[in-house]
Each structure stands twice: as C-alpha cells, then as structure tokens.
C-alpha cells in the first residue's frame, strides 16, 4: 500500500466528478473553485471562498438538476497543526458542508477555508433548518461565528465554559488543565446558568390575553420520559405545546477530541459508547472508514461475521426502542418481555464477542477472533424462537386500539421535511422513501443478502413504529442467511496496517515480532488522506469522517450521528400537540443521548 503522493488530483484527466463540472458550468471556473481535492472515499470535495458559499449551496440545494436536498453533516477542522496539506488552500480552520442527493445517490463536500482575523461565515439556517445545531456546535467547539444565526450560543458545553474544545490548543485531558475546583461561587454561577430565561430564546411569557401566562416546564435532564439526560424546556398553554427548547450536552464525553489522541486501533472501544445500545453498529462505520483510508480489503468471512453481529445489535437496539416506546404510551409489560429477549441476544453476543453492550469486537481489517465452536447452535435456537415472540408483541402493542389512538397521526411530517431536517433511517423510511444504505450503497457484503427495506407512508409515530418492527424481521432474515452460508476463510486481513500479525508467526522471525511490537505499542501509521463511509445503523445513518495526517492517531474525527439530527427535529414535530403526545414523539424517534452528544 503506497500513500498517494498528492492529495490533489490532476484536473485535466477528465476523471472529475460530474457535479464539479456542473458547478463550474454554472459559476465559471474563474475565481470560483479554489481547489478540488481527492479523497479516499471518492466523495467530490471542492474548496470555495467564503463569499461564494451561500450561492453555491443554494444552487446545489435546489437549482442544479437532481439536486442535493439534504445537509448530511456540517462541521469544521482546526488546520493549524496540519503537516500534509498537499497544496490545498487551507487556512486556520476549514468548515465543511456535506450534502447528499437521493436522485444521484451521491454526496458532495464543500469546504470553506477561514484565513483572516475574523472567524465567521454566513449562516445557512434559512436554507436548511438543521444547520441550526450544526452551526452552534461549530461555534461551541471552534469559536467560529455564523452571521445571521438567530441563537448562536454554545450547544454541548455549558455556557460558562472557557475556550473551544476542538481547537488544537485546547487541552484534552483533565490533568492538563490543573486541579479541578468547585467553590460555592462557582456552584451559584453554574446554577444560574442553568436557569431558563424564555426571552433569551425569543419566547414570550405572556399570551396576548393579559390574564393568561404560558407555563414553562422543565422535562429533564432527570425525567423518566426523556430516556437519558435530555432537557426539554417546554412552553405550554394548558397541555398544548407551543414550543420546545431542547438543551443537550449533558452526555457529552468529547468523543471527537478523544479520537485525536487514541491510536487508530484504540479508538474502537470508544466508538461502542457513541450509541451504547448498538454495539458493533458503531464500530462498522469507523472500521470501514479506516479501511478505506488505508486501502485494506476485508476477507469475506470477516465481512459476514460483521454483518451477522451488526444485525444482532440492530435487533437488540430495536428491542429497547420497542419496549420503551410502549412504556412511554403507558403500557407496563412490553418492556420486560423485550428486555428479556435482548438478554438472549446479549447471551449470544457475549458468547461470540465476550462483551455485551460494549463488545469491542471489530478490528481494522476484520474482527477480533474467529467465531467460537458451537456458535451456530446458539443462533439457531434464537432465530427459531424469536419470530413467535415478535408475533405476540404485534398483538400486544401494534394492534392495540389504545396504542393506535395514541400514535396514529401524532408527530407526523412529510418526506420533504424529513429530508430538510436531515432525518435518516426509520424516520426517513416512515415517510415513504425506501432509503437504506445497506441496499442503495451496499457495504461489507450486504449486496449478497436477500432482504427488503420496509417503508411506511404517513411519517407519524405509528408508522415509525411499523418500520422498526418490520426491520426486526428483516434483520432476522439476514442472520438466518449468515447462519446458512457462513463462508470459510480468515477472520482478519493480514495487511500490515490492519490487525497486528498473528501471534504464532511472531515466534518464528524477528521481522514479524518487531512489526507486532510496533503495531501494538505505537499503533500503525495510516497514510495521509480523508475517508468517510456512511452506514445504516439502528437509528439512521452514522458516519465517521476521518482525516489522517500521516500519524498513528487521527487528525480529525468527525462523528455524524442520526440521533443528533433527529432530536433537533423534536420541537418541529411536537409543536401544537399535547404534552402526552410529546412522549409518543420522543418514544417513536428512537434516540440515545450518548449518540446525540457524543
């Protein structure tokens, strides 16, 4: 494997992606395009100047034939310590916009370098409503301003935090910032910072009727219905929801910062904790991106093991969603049945991976170990037993008239809204678009499997439930196929950048031993470059956008999670509904706070 000598690709070869040519046709090549970058994931990546940003994005969003209607991701990179920039016009910071087109099944990345003294960009909140939180996150993490953003303030960090954590000069560990102290004044100050002041969010305390005040009620961060540390400040008129201001960041663990100090291998256990319900489904997009970056081919057996375990974790995650959703509607029992089933799944994952919720099972280039003896028997028992349980749940939950009464038509949105807000996964499929990355952009050998993509049409709470439930049957179907035709072969790639050499071999020659030692103690050095492979996780599309600067650690790891986009939609979905419906909406969204805050 030889790293590419230049990140720039020759523009005259005609290999340029069509969309870049279209952009040049529209804006003229003179002074428009600063650079086109070659990335390992082959997503067209272009650099433009800040004053061109809004018109370019607007053109891509609506004017170009087969437009890019979804803002998939938006974040930034601190470029100040970058060594391998290969002639790219980097400045102090780079802000990147990842757009997605369903018509083309294609992504495009727009990068804007920030060079001057003033760190700011024009806001695009008016183009994409979901840019709101992404821009706030960039402001919070990098200190980059967005002109025209209505409420530009910190999102994940508390408002009194000093510094911008993802800047390279911000310390990563507690030991780097001196002794932690919490004097009484600070307690008072932090308490005051938590006080919600409606005026700051453009909300009125009083109704136009002078005898009538709105009620502001704090749901969370410690509340049974929010499934974790999520705070929803809800403005109520009676029980009708006028508006909601979500407050997130209570579960923030600086995953993206940690990724900049862990080696490529030792970050894998951290990915488990991004969405703690879906185990290896987090490891999948990370490992795929690393493998794309390093150009590693994964053996078929390893791919199939990955698919099988992914589907088990999808089942486990969906079961938690199923039970807690029913509980949000007020049904007491389902959650116990479903957690018992999940226990059976975790008995299998424990037998195979050794871990349950945090399996730490995928490795770069394969998986940690081969399947244990007797694995097929365990799984056989499960796949034979589980379908009848699903039938029971359907009678108990989905067919229940009260459940339908509570969920049909509640929290509904259209397909256009779903795309504008960056909704993916079951949230998107419940609106009628059969968009599943396992089908439309198969990875890890998903194209070899026979399964369907369930859809529903109304985009309400009930339809989201329908999609989830049908997906569980499809997961079971995929697991069965893995069981019936598990290929023979190696469970990991022998690429030197992948897992360390097999231990047996290290005992025979010194070269392998040295290689093993270096790979384990320092970690492999990945060639400079960028790669991102989005995958279909249990809740939507998850991706790890990795930037390597030719070191044993990542230069920048951007984690795009579905829950972040979905939680941002909650006020939009719940406005005008009743307080009880908010619980139905939250339950149907299927989010995990660790996945929101990262």
């Amino acid at each position: 494997m030889t790293p590419r000598s230049s990140a720039m690709k020759d523009t005259s070869t005609g290999e340029r992606a069509g969309v870049v040519a279209e952009l040049e046709g529209r804006f003229g090549s003179e002074g428009f395009l600063t650079a086109a970058q070659y990335t390992k994931d082959e997503i067209p990546t272009i650099w433009i100047e800040k004053n061109r940003l809004r018109e370019t994005l607007r053109y891509l969003q609506s004017e170009i034939p087969h437009p890019f209607p979804m803002l998939f991701d938006l974040s930034a990179t601190d470029e100040r310590l970058r060594r391998h920039h290969e002639g790219l016009p980097i400045g102090v910071f780079t802000v990147f916009y990842h757009l997605f087109s369903f018509d083309r099944n294609q992504s495009i990345r727009i990068k804007v370098p920030l060079k001057g003294e003033v760190l700011s960009l024009p806001s695009i909140v008016d183009l994409w409503p979901n840019a709101d939180w992404y821009e706030r996150e960039i402001y919070d993490m990098f200190g980059i301003g967005f002109d025209g953003h209505p409420f530009l303030r910190r999102l994940l960090m508390p408002p009194w935090w000093e510094g911008h954590p993802l800047r390279k000069d911000h310390p990563a560990r507690g030991t780097e910032i001196g002794r932690f102290q919490f004097p009484p004044e600070k307690l008072v100050m932090t308490q005051e910072a938590l006080q919600f002041k409606p005026e700051e969010w453009g909300l009125s305390r009083t109704h136009h009727d002078p005898d009538f005040d709105y009620m502001f009620i704090n749901l969370g961060p410690a509340h049974t219905g929010t499934h974790g540390v999520l705070r929803l400040v809800t403005q109520l008129a009676g029980e009708e929801i006028i508006n909601i201001v979500p407050d997130i960041g209570f579960h923030h663990r600086a995953q993206e910062k940690i990724a900049e100090r862990q080696t490529w291998h030792t970050f894998i256990p951290y990915t488990d904790r991004v969405d703690y319900l879906q185990g290896v489904l987090n490891e999948m997009p990370y490992c795929l991106s690393v493998e794309r970056l390093a150009g590693i081919d994964v053996p078929t057996r390893a791919q199939t093991i990955r698919v099988m375990m992914s589907e088990f974790y999808r089942l486990a995650s969906h079961l938690v969603w199923y039970g807690t959703f029913a509980q949000d509607i007020g049904a007491l029992s389902p959650v116990f049945y479903m957690f018992n089933d999940r226990e059976r799944i975790h008995a299998i994952t424990e037998a195979i991976c050794g871990g349950r919720m945090h399996p730490n099972w995928f490795r770069i280039g394969g998986v940690a170990q081969d399947l244990p003896i007797g694995w097929d028997k365990l799984i056989h028992q499960f796949v034979d037993w589980f379908p009848s349980r699903l039938d029971q749940y359907e009678r108990l939950v989905m067919d229940n008239p009260i459940f339908k009464e509570r969920t049909v038509g509640i929290g509904a949105f259209s397909l256009e809204d779903a795309i504008a807000w960056g909704a993916t996964g079951p949230m998107l499929r419940a609106c009628g678009l059969p968009w599943d990355l396992r089908k439309v952009r198969p990875y890890s050998g998903y194209d070899q499997f026979d399964f369907e993509v369930p859809v529903a049409s109304n985009g309400d709470c009930y339809d989201r439930a329908v999609v989830h439930v049908l997906e569980m049957r499809q997961s079971l179907r995929i697991i069965r196929q893995c069981l019936d035709s598990m290929p023979a072969g190696s469970y990991k790639s022998l690429d030197p950048l992948a897992t360390p050499p097999l231990k047996e071999r290290t005992m025979h020659d010194i070269e392998t031993l040295i290689h093993h030692f270096v790979g384990v103690s320092w970690g492999p050095v990945l060639p400079p470059g960028e790669a991102e492979v989005p995958t279909e996780s249990s809740k939507g599309q998850t991706s790890y956008y990795l930037t390597s600067d030719g070191a044993q650690v990542s230069y920048r790891t951007r984690i795009r999670t579905p829950s972040f986009a979905h939680i941002q939609m909650v006020p939009f979905m719940a406005r005008g509904e009743l307080l009880s419906d908010l619980l139905a909406v939250l339950g149907s969204v299927d989010y995990v706070l660790s996945d929101v805050d990262r």
């Binding site: 007020g330 007491l332 108990l396 009260i402 009743l578 307080l579 009880s580």
Partner: protein, 321 residues
C-alpha cells in the same frame, strides 16, 4: 333499634379487613405483575414475599416527613387523609352478606357516589397544594377526567336501581337472586366499570399520575407515609370498585353451595385481579380522548340504556296493575 355492639363489631371487622386487604393487594399486584411480566416480583420478605407490604410500611413510617417549603402546608397535609377517609367511608354501605353491613342505608348508592366524588377532591387539592408544575398538571388532568366520568358513572347505575326499585344496596343484591343484573344491564356494567377505573386512576385512565410524562403527577411531591396514604387509598378504591361491581351487577353474595361471604370475596377478588391484568396489558389513553369518549359515546349509551330500562320497568308495572 340499632344493635350497637353488632355495628361496632362489623365496623372493626370491615375496617381491619379492608386495610389488611389493601396492604396485601400491594403485594398481590406486584407478584402478579411479576409473573405476567416474566420476572419474580417481591419474593424476599416473609414466605413468598408476603410481608413485603409490612416492610414497605415500616420504611414509609420511618422516613423523613418532608413537606416542600413551597407547598400550602395545611392543605398539603390534609389531602392524603381525605383519600383514605373517603375510601374507607364507602365501605360503610357495602353489604358483604345478608345483615353483614355497617350502615344499611336506604340510599346506599348515593352515599357511595358522594364518597367517590369527595375522593376526587383529594387529587385536585393535593396537586394544587403541592405548588409544583407536574403536580398541577396532574390535578388539571384529574379535573378533566372527573368531568368525563362522573356524569355517566351515576347514569350507568340507575338501570340497576330501576330494576331493583331501590337505592338500598342490600335490596339490589336481593333483587338479583334469579338473574344477575349484568345480563339486562350489560351496557350499564361497562359504563360503570370504565368510570370506576377512571375514578380509581387505574390504567388505562391513570393520566393524572402518568409516570411517563408527569412523573407521578398529583402526588409527585408527597413522600413517606403521606405518599403511603395515596398508595393505600388507591388500593382501597380498587377494592370498593370491585365490590360495587359485584353488588350491582354480579349478584353480590348470591351463589350456590358456598356461604355468601365466600362468594362475595371470590367475585370481588376476580374483579381486582381483572383490574390488575388490565394494568399489565393496556397503554394509557390521553385525557382529551377520555373526555370525548366519555361524552360522545358512553354518556349517550348510558342514557339510552336508562331510557330502555325505564320503559321496560314501566311496561311491567302496567302489566302488574
């Protein structure tokens, strides 16, 4: 002439029985829910966990008796008492067997309805006195709920009253010697059962305490024995509700072979378990859905039921003349 010693003995037996039963039911419900939900439930204290309620009681009595500083103290303290008192008062008119009743009032049904309406006050003023938003929303829901079930609760009973020709509960039971009223008064039974569930704040009508969104609702601020009173009060009203269903629609103490008290006990237990089973199975409706269902569906049905029953009774009286 009232036999005072007999009445006093009845009071002691019923009061002791009801309170013990309510404590026991806490364990029964938790065990049953456990079995239905593929888990054990409380099984550590005493044989099979039987003494769990006792252990809970010791815990509640010894807990700090906390009154939130923002609450309206006097009312806050008074409320839990109302719950238990009204529920226990209802037992006064419950005829368990012929002659086995504290007060054989000739307007027993009205007394029961009055007590159940008074109990609603505890929820309303309890939530109000707590002076917290969640409790407040809970009591608002309780009021909305009250407005929906109270109306048809009374109406659905009137069919049985018409058929028996009396407000006296013992007379109503006696009138079912040959045919239980559940057969001619099936609609009345359904309406009353539904209203009773709403009155006792049981699933699917437990909106005032909806743990998912209102985290215990009207009694969110109560702890220690004050909470315990709410808790026991709820089980007492479940017993009263089941007893009233049995008395009004399922022939009270009537039944072959076994003594009347046993029949009454068995039938009542059956309904108590049914109410637990409903809790284990069904989700919760929304309060506006209960309102519209109560006013648009159950209320007209109860009225039609009353009209038809009244017509039949009148026609029979005509024949008899």
């Amino acid at each position: 002439m009232i036999d005072w010693s007999h009445t006093a003995l009845t009071i002691v037996v019923i009061l002791g029985g009801a309170l013990t039963l309510a404590g026991l039911l806490i364990w029964v419900e938790r065990r049953l829910l456990g079995i239905w939900q593929e888990r054990y439930g409380p099984n550590r204290v005493g044989p099979g966990g039987l003494l769990q309620a006792l252990a809970d009681m010791i815990k509640m009595f010894t807990k700090e008796d906390w009154i939130p500083p923002f609450a309206d103290k006097a009312v806050f303290v008074l409320t839990p008492a109302i719950v238990v008192i009204t529920a226990l008062m209802s037992f006064a008119v419950v005829p368990i067997a012929p002659g086995f009743v504290v007060a054989d009032l000739n307007m027993g049904i009205l007394f029961f309805l009055a007590m159940s309406s008074l109990a609603a006050y505890s929820v309303i003023i309890g939530g109000w006195a707590s002076n917290s938003k969640f409790a407040f929303l809970g009591s608002l829901r309780a009021i909305a709920q009250l407005l929906s079930y109270e109306v048809f609760m009374g109406l659905s009973l009137m069919g049985a009253v018409l058929l028996a020709g009396s407000f006296n509960l013992s007379d109503i039971v006696e009138a079912q010697r040959h045919l239980w009223f559940v057969v001619p008064q099936f609609l009345g039974f359904l309406g009353f059962f539904m209203a009773g569930l709403a009155e006792a704040h049981r699933t699917p009508f437990d909106m005032p305490e909806a743990e998912a969104e209102l985290v215990a609702g009207y009694h969110a601020e109560y702890s220690g024995m004050k909470f315990g009173m709410f808790f026991v009060g709820e089980y007492l009203s479940v017993i009263v509700l089941s007893a009233m269903i049995v008395i009004l629609f399922f022939g009270g103490w009537h039944g072959p072979w076994l003594p009347p008290v046993v029949w009454f006990f068995l039938k009542t237990s059956g309904f108590i378990v049914l109410i637990f089973l409903i809790r284990a199975t069904w989700p919760r409706v929304r309060f506006d859905q209960l309102l519209s269902f109560g006013w648009k569906v159950v209320m007209p049905l109860a009225l039609i039921n009353l009209l038809v029953t009244g017509g039949i009774v009148l026609a029979r009286m005509g024949e008899g003349r």
